[in-house]
């Protein structure tokens, strides 16, 4: 076996050539007796047994099963199930109430545009010298660490009649008796707002890290050339954070399709706020429609794979390859 060759492919596949690929791994060489050689051949598998077993059992087997279930009418409990062809998929795309979840994702998608813009703005500001920088950084990031159920309650109270939002508006002399979570548009906008509150911090810290890893000389040189802040942002910062930016886009898309805990806690999917995951969970575990739920999950998986694929075509950067 050619150890060198595999080594090179490996590093390429993983995108980061942190170590020169020329050093052959120790196990590849040596003219040891047969038993020892066999033992050595076995060693990596002993290390890999548990990780691989878990990987296959809890990632690949479910995906395979899910695809199989999606072509049946199985209810998840009874021993009999019938092959129904593509019926579940047809149902998924023709029943408007099932299809509606995609429009809900639209709100979260729009929210993530706001979120990325806000995160980018604050990351840029805080990459310069600002007083209380660590404090602001901590404040902006902290919501990302807060428990989703707690966030759900915090904002349930926030949007409640006479709650935080109404009281703050009252301070400015605006008295409304509007039920923020009462109509579909208002409820989804509110929930999308919560999502901005919660996730901006992660994007912000990712951007900040990327901006700070841009060498300072670049700014100094550009200043000598008479560049403005905007020019610096456009020609130095933006290209420097491109990989992280594209990563954020991907995370946002899959995040907005798989939004679950905050809407589930705040509205339970009522008033037209049901997301894809809430619907799938309900179909599978409340209405025992495992077949249909599997079809929905397969569609979601395909969308996310497609988005990832498009992103990698557009931004073929090895840094984001590992995600």
């Amino acid at each position: 076996m050619n150890g060198d060759d595999t080594g090179t492919v490996m590093t390429d596949a993983l995108g980061t050539a942190a170590r020169p690929a020329t050093a052959p791994p120790p196990a590849a060489r040596g003219r040891a007796p047969r038993g020892v050689r066999l033992w050595r051949g076995l060693t990596p598998w002993l290390f890999l047994a548990a990780p691989l077993a878990l990987l296959i059992t809890f990632t690949y087997a479910p995906v395979a099963n899910m695809i199989a279930y999606s072509f049946t009418d199985w209810d998840g409990v009874s021993p009999d199930l019938h092959y129904t062809g593509a019926e579940n998929y047809v149902e998924l795309f023709t029943r408007p109430e099932l299809f509606q979840v995609f429009f809900v994702s639209g709100y979260y998608l729009a929210a993530s545009v706001v979120q990325i813009a806000v995160a980018l703005y604050f990351a840029t500001i805080l990459s310069f010298d600002v007083r209380f920088r660590n404090f602001f950084k901590g404040v902006l990031f902290f919501p990302y660490l807060v428990n989703g159920v707690a966030i759900g309650f915090v904002f349930l109270y926030f949007f409640q009649d006479g709650g935080t939002l109404d009281s703050v508006l009252g301070l400015f002399g605006h008295h409304s008796d509007r039920a923020w979570l009462g109509t579909s548009v208002s409820a989804n906008t509110s929930l999308a707002g919560v999502s901005v509150w919660r996730y901006t911090g992660l994007n912000f810290v990712l951007f900040l890290g990327a901006i700070q890893s841009i060498p300072g000389e670049l700014y100094e040189a550009s200043e000598l050339d008479g560049a403005h802040r905007w020019h610096q942002f456009r020609y130095i910062v933006l290209p420097g954070i491109k990989p992280v930016l594209s990563l954020s886009v991907i995370l946002s898309v899959s995040g907005s399709l798989s939004a679950f805990d905050v809407p589930f806690i705040m509205t339970g999917g009522a008033t037209g706020t049901e997301t894809f995951v809430i619907q799938t969970v309900k179909l599978a575990f409340q209405f025992n429609k495992t077949g249909l739920a599997s079809a929905a999950a397969v569609v979601l998986l395909l969308i996310i794979l497609a988005v990832t694929w498009v992103q990698r075509r557009l931004v073929p950067d090895d840094k984001v390859d590992l995600v």
């Binding site: 596949a13 604050f122 990302y144 109270y157």
Partner: protein, 284 residues
């Protein structure tokens, strides 16, 4: 006559104040909803009913009555116990499994290595939330449903990001160390245990923090796999506040604060590690 903001210096000053203004606004937006919940948690049910509004300060800042109710009637001790149990096993498991996989992939050449690496790579593309419909059946068949082991094995088995974090670090450990140990008669397991694992300490710290916070905050898996009330973790126990404490916002708020507080403390003490950890976790 020069208006402020027309001279370069004036403009810079205006930009500076705008910067601070936007930061102040953002801080209020982030902190106000949390602060109000903290205030609410200190109010009595009578204060809640008198219509003084959400922003009113509590009469007694030391009124911890709601915390007692939330802690005792909300089953918080059991919830923290279950969360701690799950945290301990899933984080330890993730560290051991991730570092073993990384060691095997980086330090050995073996048949089907490319296939194994591809399996791990492709798995990162499959979001866990999508596959639970089918994962549920498998967990159920192992008899793990409604036990604390269901989330534990799932947290351990589906964390490929940790494997990558470990892989980065294993790569940076010189192979000559392994070789020297091998010449001294150490076998692969001794090398892993005595040399690789101790040198992976920064990676272990990263994984422990990121994984720990993720597990602590997760609602989806405990909600799906542990419906029994006595198996509530902090997320699901807090979620159950919705029923019995329905309109008692002061108790619900106290529960929320109890859940947020440990995160805040950990964050204040480990800030730097947390930033690095999440940056690494997301980009590697």
């Amino acid at each position: 006559m020069t208006l402020p903001g027309t001279t370069p210096a004036g403009r810079r000053r205006a930009a500076r104040s705008l910067t601070y203004l936007s930061l102040a606004v953002a801080s209020v937006v982030v902190l106000l909803p949390l602060a109000v919940v903290l205030l609410t948690s200190l109010k009595s049910s009578k204060e809640m009913a008198d219509g003084s509004g959400a922003l009113a300060l509590p009469d007694d800042f030391l009124n911890f009555h709601n915390y007692v109710t939330a802690f005792r009637d909300g089953g918080m001790p059991a919830a923290f116990g279950n969360t701690a149990f799950i945290l301990l096993f899933s984080v330890t498991g993730t560290v051991i499994i991730g570092s073993m996989a990384a060691y095997a992939i980086d330090r050995f050449t073996f048949r089907f290595k490319k296939l194994v690496v591809a399996l791990f790579l492709i798995a990162t593309l499959v979001p866990g939330v999508t596959t639970q419909v089918a994962t549920f059946q498998i967990v159920d068949r192992f008899g793990l449903f409604d036990t604390r082991w269901a989330p534990i094995v799932l947290y351990m088995g589906t964390d490929i990001v940790s494997i990558y974090i470990f892989l980065q670090f294993v790569r940076s450990i010189p192979v000559s160390l392994d070789e020297a140990a091998r010449l001294d008669g150490a076998n692969a397991f001794t090398i892993y245990w005595k040399i690789i694992l101790p040198l992976l300490r920064p990676a272990v710290a990263t994984v422990v923090i990121v994984k720990g916070i993720t597990v602590y905050n997760d609602f989806y898996l405990p909600f799906l796999y542990m419906p029994s009330e006595d198996l509530g973790v902090i997320s699901t126990s807090l979620f159950r506040f919705k029923g019995p404490f329905g309109a008692h916002w002061e108790t619900i708020s106290a529960g929320a604060v109890l859940v947020i507080l440990p995160t805040l403390i950990v964050f204040l003490f480990l800030q730097r590690f947390i930033y690095n950890g999440f940056t690494r976790g997301a980009t590697k």
